[in-house]
């Protein structure tokens, strides 16, 4: 019981938008597709929806191919980045629109629309026009319209990206309960924000340059990103990647940063690698092999991200809490060697060794 896409490919004007994408999206689960802008996420959704022709590939749902069905027969619901609603219909009628299309009984339509509107917190807004409510509310209407259908496939294309910071956080928190009603649907959710993907997804698909880089459970992808690109995409701030090698004396990172090789890495062939370490696993330390100046400190809500440029390498570290660290402050950075990821030192940068998984849900 799932949506299967196989070898989807799409090239337009010489630019590959999709390069052989294959994946399975189980019903009743929420899959987050994460990737940078222009990685092919939106194209993938449009192909599934039937809004975009493909050069080749197969689409099937529960074993039945539907690639030849026109969009209006696919039973796919979609929520866009922009707050797209029918401007000429009231909120109520917007949500009722797909149901009326299905020729459901009037009372049934009423019931379901009211139910969904109250789920998204808009029970009192039924009579308003979309233009008369705030952006966040408009996006809730769009969500409600998608939810009310209980469609086979529910696609969400970065639905939160255009919302104010706090609203985004709030709506994100509600997602789990919102989608609890869609137990039979395939739900696919595009995002560029790893935290968002991790928090709400049952499965994560990482896309990079038109291809699928990794599919897996959120924790698995987080703990063992298969390549440098995935490691960067799934971490925010992106994982620190340092060129280096393993030799007889242990690890050599960046410009002469020496670390002892932990047992896990000591057995690896002695050659060049790329090493990765999460910003959150670096910590300031007085006695540290890497010393540098803070070039820039970002303070997010509750964390501080420090960009440190040292003679031996530049790293980004993330600290809990809020610190004001003026640029130029010199600090030492402790690099936990046992938390290092090791990747191939080539274009693709495949994962060779990941540190032990920790915690998680």
């Amino acid at each position: 019981m799932s949506l299967v896409v196989q070898e989807l490919s799409l090239v337009r004007n010489g630019v590959p938008h999709l390069g052989g994408v294959s994946a399975t999206f189980p019903r009743g689960q929420l899959t987050a597709v994460i990737g940078r802008t222009l990685a092919g996420k939106t194209t993938l959704l449009r192909v599934i929806a039937g809004l975009q022709a493909i050069d080749g590939g197969m689409l099937d749902l529960d074993g039945r191919p539907f690639g030849r069905l026109p969009a209006w027969k696919r039973d796919v619901a979609m929520v866009y980045q922009q707050f797209i609603n029918y401007p000429h219909l009231s909120v109520f009628e917007n949500v009722a629109f797909p149901l009326r299309k299905k020729r459901l009984a009037r009372t049934e339509v009423e019931r379901r629309v009211r139910e969904v509107l109250s789920t998204v917190g808009l029970a009192d807004f039924g009579k308003r026009r979309p233009s008369a409510i705030s952006g966040g509310q408009q996006q809730r209407v769009a969500l409600a319209r998608a939810l009310v259908r209980e469609a086979n496939i529910l696609l969400l294309d970065e639905p939160l990206v255009n919302l104010d910071y706090k609203l985004r956080e709030q709506l994100r928190d509600e997602f789990r309960s919102l989608f609890s009603t869609q137990e039979h649907s395939v739900v696919i959710f595009n995002t560029t924000d790893p935290a968002e993907a991790m928090m709400i997804a049952d499965q994560i698909v990482v896309m990079h340059e038109g291809r699928i880089a990794q599919i897996g459970k959120p924790a698995d992808v987080f703990e063992a990103p298969v390549s440098v690109a995935v490691a960067e995409i799934i971490n925010d701030p992106p994982m620190n990647i340092l060129a280096g090698r393993i030799d007889g004396d242990g690890l050599l990172l960046g410009e002469g940063l020496r670390l002892p090789a932990p047992p896990r890495l000591a057995t690896l062939p002695r050659r060049a690698y790329r090493f990765g370490v999460r910003a959150g696993e670096l910590a300031p330390a007085d006695e540290a092999p890497l010393v540098g100046a803070v070039t820039f400190s970002e303070v997010s809500g509750s964390e501080t991200t420090l960009h440190v440029a040292g003679e031996k390498g530049s790293v980004v570290l993330q600290l809990e809490g809020v610190f004001v660290m003026p640029p130029g402050t010199r600090i030492g950075v402790a690099i936990p060697a046992d938390r290092l990821f090791v990747f191939e030192d080539d274009g693709e940068g495949r994962l060779i060794s990941a540190p032990a998984a920790i915690g998680g849900s």
């Binding site: 809004l51 969009a71 209006w72 922009q82 797209i84 029918y86 000429h88 629109f97």
Partner: protein, 281 residues
């Protein structure tokens, strides 16, 4: 000091242009109350003071002596203009929607070529088409009929409708129509249930342009009718002979202009609300 000077300059420019725009109307207004004597003695402007006003020019338009009856032409003009405009809008809107949303390809012909083909119809001077149209309508038995004129006007107005509506639809996000299709509408249903209700501003603008160009056409109305059907400009130009009754002509000019001046108010509303901006870019 300087801003005040600039502002004075600005108002001066606006007022001068206003005067230029208004001049023919004011002249026509005063002339419409003249008789031959008010005209032949050199320009006069003020009734009672410079000439003895008379309602002759106005009476002549409504069956009075020395004029033409413009009531029937008025009605005919409205029927033909509105009829042709509406059909053009319907066909033009559909075609424009297609051209805006789909990719057409036939040999080397692409969307932009089709749009150009539509617009290029406006390049043809009416004279080129007069006789062929005449023969065509003759063949169809539609000479001297409103239907015949409507058909011809469609050829004139459709390009305008397509031009405006393509621009308009290009500016409307596709997401709304896509969403309707995902909600189970065929492209037709999506168009009629969702796109159309939201395209009213564009359609109004296109309709307005069609009305203006249709209402003001003279040449086809002139060549393709005999006696049964007469449109307003043709009826009024019948006053422009070697001996022009300036008074009747002025009165009829003012009367023919009146309905479209109402459109000017309407256009301004669209304009000031920014609706036009979306439709013409």
């Amino acid at each position: 000091m300087m801003p005040r000077f600039y502002s004075a300059l600005k108002y001066a420019a606006v007022l001068i242009w206003s005067a230029f725009v208004l001049a023919p109307f004011m002249w026509a207004l005063t002339t419409s109350f003249k008789t031959a004597n008010g005209v032949t003695g050199g320009p006069t402007y003020l009734p009672w003071i410079q000439y003895k006003p008379s309602l002759h020019g106005w009476e002549s338009l409504f069956g009075g002596a020395g004029g033409i009856d413009i009531v029937q032409p008025y009605i005919d003009s409205i029927i033909v203009t509105v009829g042709a405009s509406i059909i053009s809008i319907v066909l033009g809107t559909l075609a424009a929607y297609g051209l805006s949303r789909f990719q057409y390809r036939a040999g080397f012909v692409k969307n932009s070529d089709i749009v150009f083909f539509f617009i290029s119809q406006r390049i043809m001077p009416p004279i080129v088409l007069a006789i062929p149209f005449f023969l065509m309508l003759q063949f169809l038995g539609l000479l001297d009929t409103k239907t015949g004129l409507i058909i011809v006007y469609i050829a004139l107005l459709l390009p305008i409708a397509v031009w405006i509506m393509v621009d308009f639809f290009d500016g409307v996000p596709r997401a709304v129509d896509e969403m309707a299709m995902l909600d189970g509408c065929t492209p037709f249903e999506a168009f009629f249930k969702v796109v159309l209700p939201n395209s009213l501003p564009g359609i109004l603008v296109a309709l307005m342009f069609c009305l203006i160009f249709g209402w003001n056409d003279f040449f086809f109305a002139f060549t393709l009718t005999f006696t049964d059907t007469q449109l307003l400009p043709v009826a009024i130009v019948a006053l422009n002979s070697s001996v022009t009754p300036w008074w009747s002509l002025s009165a009829s000019a003012l009367i023919s202009v009146a309905p479209l001046v109402l459109i000017a108010f309407f256009v301004e509303r669209l304009l000031s609300r920014g609706t036009l901006a979306g439709a013409i870019r």
